[in-house]
């Protein structure tokens, strides 16, 4: 189906809800744009924008746009790989698989970088010899409505990672918000996306609409706050394994895990085994873990990567080097979340530059 | 038998650690000491020099059973210095928090600490073997109280959401709606509790107590009010130091309080009820009547009934407040420091809890004075014991011990609270 123009997002939200999706999108909460379930388009953060820099996020009044802000601390990861999920229960020698919770969720407002992150996770969880069926179920229950970025933040660098700002693949629908007149250009990226679009009140997009949308993405690309030079980065990080820079970074790093927690591609988990003291059964739960915790690499009672320097090195090297060996893609998609949400304001783009 | 010594090494089923020592000779008690040997923790010294915003969090740590009481008395004393009043929905939230603590603390005492005395068990858990549904009811009721504290304060013990001027985050109506649902059920459990405890067998004892409690024109005073005495005396909380004087007694790490010159007054459930029973919610009043409580109750054993009635009141009022709750515009009113002295008192589950602070103009605390309920009651509890034991000195020591522990438990003393205010070192020589 060719691109069309929508006046309002309410019919879209309504249709999705009618199909049994919980529509989840950006809202304002606690002074930050957060994902939450939407009742109608009125819940969207119209008129809000954000300022993001290393270790700092502030909401501010912006242009009269519905999507006039950049990445939020939430990403699709919370839905594809929830922070905690039960794997199985064990009772009297019988393992009982916990039914996978895969709610039908329509994510409205994911960005090109988020789609790239989902593609990276797909490779991690579905690309190997032992695909993760729970991930597959949750992934398949998602309906993705992307929004092309108009206002990147100070910590964004998707343009240099080649993952944005325009969504080209991996979505069911993609919207571009146009300012004057205020409209949404909508394109379908899947069959079900096309079917849904056809049901919405719309008119065909004209060349002016298409040009306006292109202009949005062009301007956004030019306004990226940050940049990474990928040339030779994979080899460089391996060569720099013994660099003194790691120690210097470690002196500033809190090893608090925030970067890995907000990163939409970081996938490391651990499991917790619990016995039900009162009842007698046992349960195994999987939860987010991070290469920054000591328990993560414990071996024979001591962590393999005991120093903060070794743990930071693991994270950055994984993202930009060994991830490529393992999965044929970078582990970073340039969303800048780890930069903004690092309480110490450590900036991976800057550290990569220093590790030249 | 002319000499007799009763020694209870560690009082059980009370909060904190205390002991009892009674010496008798020729049918007369020569020495009776409710000993609070719990080591002092010097909170008043600890607060000196700290920022005026910190007492709610620090003094909460005096007692894990009634942290909210400490937070509320501290907030009000300090807000008084800064000239701030907290009312409207923020005051309602404070009341909710406090009611939650009352429900939790009273129910704990009723079911797990006190009732086993009447039914003859060493503990609530042992009692559950024969009376499981009853104990389960108690636990469910207690849980409702904890859930209310957690919904407003973040967690049941040492809530984190309290600050001078209000809260860090005001719960939404949606946050509180499910709590109200559970409280409605809890209210029924509380009514059942009243009829359950009303049926206990109470020794026919009456003491001529001098009661002290807060009073409030519009409500059954809990969060704030004017101290009043059953003899008709009434004084603003600012005058507390003129009326209540603490003195050190050698056998205790807690201070004994004197009211208007003489020791031996009582604060707590019986006092509140005696001074304020007319202000109980209609449902609680009804429950009190059906349990056979008159306007005043002087039988310490029946304090369990009064507590149960107060739980009904707390559930009932909490439901009413949540139903009428409107979210405040801001979670707290701004508070800026200024030099001065402030007094605050509120009704902890165990009685009136008074705080006084002196703050300099930079907002540093220069002086603190905290008078917890059990320190006030200690002398009176000793009198109860004397009256109980003296006529019965020929009973076996084991039985006397049992009776003494029960008599102490009647007043739900909180020894952790009482022990932490001494600015002196113990001499262990």
């Amino acid at each position: 189906m060719d691109p069309v123009v929508l006046d309002s997002l309410d019919p879209l939200i309504g249709r999705l809800r009618a199909r049994g999706y919980a529509v989840v999108g950006p809202t304002v909460r606690d002074g930050v744009i957060r994902f939450a379930e939407l009742g109608s388009a009125a819940d969207l953060p119209r008129g809000w924008s954000d300022e993001q820099e290393p270790g700092r996020y502030r909401l501010r009044q912006g242009d009269d746009l519905v999507f006039g802000f950049a990445a939020s601390p939430d990403s699709a990861k919370r839905y594809t790989q929830p922070p905690r999920s039960s794997l199985f229960r064990w009772r009297d020698g019988v393992a009982e698989e916990t039914p996978v919770e895969a709610p039908r969720v329509a994510l409205l407002g994911v960005r090109a970088c988020d789609l790239a992150a989902i593609a990276v996770q797909d490779r991690v969880f579905l690309g190997g010899r032992h695909p993760d069926e729970a991930y597959r179920a949750r992934r398949e229950a998602l309906f993705l409505v992307a929004v092309n970025c108009a206002v990147p933040s100070g910590t964004c660098f998707c343009a240099s990672m080649g993952t944005g700002p325009r969504a080209t693949t991996g979505f069911d629908l993609a919207l571009t918000e146009l300012a004057e007149p205020h409209l949404f250009l909508a394109e379908a990226g899947s069959e079900r996306g096309g079917e849904l679009l056809a049901e919405l009140p719309h008119r065909p997009a004209g060349p002016a609409d298409l040009e306006a949308a292109d202009e949005v993405s062009r301007t956004a690309a030019a306004r990226m706050g940050r940049h990474v030079d990928l040339d030779g980065v994979k080899e460089r990080l391996v060569e720099q394994r013994e660099s003194p820079v790691w120690n210097e970074i470690a002196s500033r790093c809190l090893t608090c895990t925030n970067c890995t927690m907000v990163c939409p591609t970081c996938f490391c988990t651990t499991v917790e085994d619990a016995t039900d003291l009162a009842g007698g059964g046992a349960e195994r739960v999987e939860r987010w873990d991070s290469c920054f915790t000591l328990g993560f690499t414990e071996l024979g009672g001591a962590p393999v990567r005991g120093s903060g320097a070794a743990r930071y090195r693991q994270w950055l090297t994984h993202k930009f080097s060994t991830w490529v060996d393992q999965f044929g893609t970078y582990g970073c998609i340039g969303c800048g979340r780890c930069i903004t949400w690092c309480p110490a304001g450590i900036d991976i783009t800057e550290e990569l530059e220093r590790l030249r | 038998m002319t000499h007799k010594t009763i020694r209870v090494g560690g009082l059980t089923r009370v909060e904190g650690e205390g002991a009892l020592l009674v010496r008798a000779r020729a049918g007369r008690i020569t020495d009776l000491q409710l000993r609070i040997y719990e080591p002092p923790r010097f909170f008043e010294a600890l607060l000196r020099g700290r920022d005026f915003t910190e007492p709610p969090d620090i003094t909460a740590r005096i007692c894990g059973i009634c942290p909210v009481a400490y937070q509320m008395s501290a907030c009000q004393a300090l807000e008084a210095i800064c000239g701030v009043t907290v009312d409207g929905p923020l005051r309602d939230l404070r009341l909710l928090l406090y009611f939650g603590e009352w429900i939790e603390s009273h129910t704990l005492h009723i079911y797990l600490l006190h009732a086993p005395d009447f039914l003859g068990y060493p503990s609530g858990i042992a009692m559950a073997r024969d009376h499981r549904p009853v104990v389960e009811r108690g636990l469910a009721l207690k849980k409702a109280g904890n859930e209310l504290v957690a919904a407003v304060g973040g967690r049941a013990i040492h809530p984190v959401n309290v600050r001078l001027g209000g809260f860090y985050r005001a719960p939404t109506r949606a946050d509180l709606a499910p709590v109200a649902e559970r409280l409605r059920r809890a209210r029924d459990l509380a009514l059942e509790t009243v009829s359950w405890v009303a049926g206990f067998d109470f020794p026919p004892v009456e003491h001529d107590y001098r009661f002290l409690a807060l009073t409030h024109p519009g409500e059954y005073a809990i969060l704030s009010g004017t101290p009043a005495v059953s003899d008709g005396t009434r004084f603003p909380v600012e005058d507390w130091p003129a009326h209540v004087v603490e003195e050190q007694v050698p056998h205790s790490t807690a201070l004994h309080a004197r009211l208007d010159g003489s020791p031996g007054y009582l604060t707590g459930a019986l006092a509140r009820y005696a001074l304020n029973s007319a202000r109980l919610s209609p449902l609680a009043r009804e429950a009190a009547a059906s349990a056979g409580l008159g306007p005043v109750c002087r039988n310490p054993y029946r304090s369990i009934v009064v507590r149960a009635v107060e739980v009904v009141h707390a559930c009932d009022e909490a439901v009413r407040i949540i139903d009428g709750y409107t979210e405040p515009d801001a979670p707290a009113v701004p508070v800026t420091p200024r030099a001065g002295v402030g007094h605050g008192a509120s009704e902890a589950p165990r009685g009136t809890l008074y705080h006084r602070y002196r703050v300099d103009d930079a907002g540093r605390i220069a002086e603190t004075d905290i008078v917890p309920p059990t320190a006030q009651n200690q002398a009176r509890i000793e009198e109860d014991l004397r009256a109980l034991l003296e006529p019965r000195l020929d009973l076996p020591v084991a039985r006397l011990t049992e009776l003494s522990e029960q008599a102490v438990r009647n007043h739900d003393p909180c020894i952790s609270c009482s022990a932490h205010f001494l600015d002196l070192r113990l001499d262990h020589g």
Partner: protein
């Protein structure tokens, strides 16, 4: 990632802190395994750990030799015959014996490293004719911690078996000290030798380096990586060593692929 219930068919204490369990599925048969592979064994309510398969029981079950070092291994060592535990796998890469036909073989084990190598040694003992000269060298802390002493004695009839200990007791007459010394004492033709090395990381490095010093190329030295594993199938991230997942790319890997990685501290 759900474990399959396996019944403990037999439990044989090997040493003070080590037992060998025979595990068979409660229903059905054990999936086939290759020497060097491991399973994830779940002690109900306690946890799940990777344990190598140390052999095939005659009945078809897995033999798994476990040393009690922590909570899960202690729980597994403490099971009784008839108990049910959970098993996933077998997972991971294997010792490639097929590529070894006709060559000299050096098997080097440090401590518990003998367990994952046992299927290899059993194969060598059973079909010695298929290979060139065979040597087994092993190191252990004390004579009392030496695994499979009776089997070692039996194997010694078929090929060279040398054992060294760190701390000898009075009865010990054999070599004392590092296993690398044994590398110098065995006979093989470096140009046509394959080595299988398993043990603590430093032991594997030292042994591999010594073998290379004697002319064995790195790619013909196989080592087995030990890292903390939670999923065992490349999804949880714990067991990474640089570009490798020990569970999926390993545990058995050519030394040529890991030599440089093992040199880096805290990688």
């Amino acid at each position: 990632m759900i474990p399959t219930p396996y019944r403990v068919r037999s439990r044989r204490p090997d040493r003070a802190d080590t037992v060998t369990l025979t595990l068979e599925p409660v229903e059905g048969a054990c999936p086939p395994f290759l020497p060097g592979q491991f399973t994830m064994i779940y002690a109900p309510g306690v946890g799940e750990i990777p344990i190598s398969i140390s052999g095939h029981a005659r009945s078809g079950g897995y033999l798994q030799t476990i040393r009690a070092v922590g909570a899960v291994s202690r729980a597994l060592c403490g099971v009784r015959v008839g108990d049910v535990v959970g098993v996933r796998g077998p997972y991971g890469t294997h010792w490639d014996l097929a590529a070894t036909a006709g060559m000299d073989v050096v098997v080097a084990a440090g401590g518990l490293g003998l367990a994952p190598l046992r299927p290899v040694i059993r194969e060598l003992a059973a079909h010695g004719a298929r290979y060139g000269r065979i040597s087994l060298i092993a190191g252990t802390r004390t004579p009392a911690t030496l695994l499979y002493p009776r089997e070692l004695a039996r194997w010694a009839r078929d090929f060279d078996v040398l054992v060294t200990v760190d701390h000898p007791d009075r009865a010990w007459k054999g070599p004392v000290g590092l296993i690398t010394k044994l590398v110098d004492r065995i006979v093989f033709d470096p140009a046509r030798t394959c080595a299988f090395v398993c043990g603590p990381e430093i032991m594997m490095r030292a042994t591999a380096e010594r073998l290379m010093g004697r002319g064995v190329p790195a790619h013909r030295i196989a080592v087995s990586l030990e890292r903390n594993m939670k999923c065992g199938i490349g999804l949880c991230g714990h067991c990474q060593l640089g570009p490798l997942f020990a569970c999926a790319d390993g545990p058995v890997l050519g030394y040529d692929r890991v030599a440089a990685l093992m040199e880096v501290k805290q990688l």
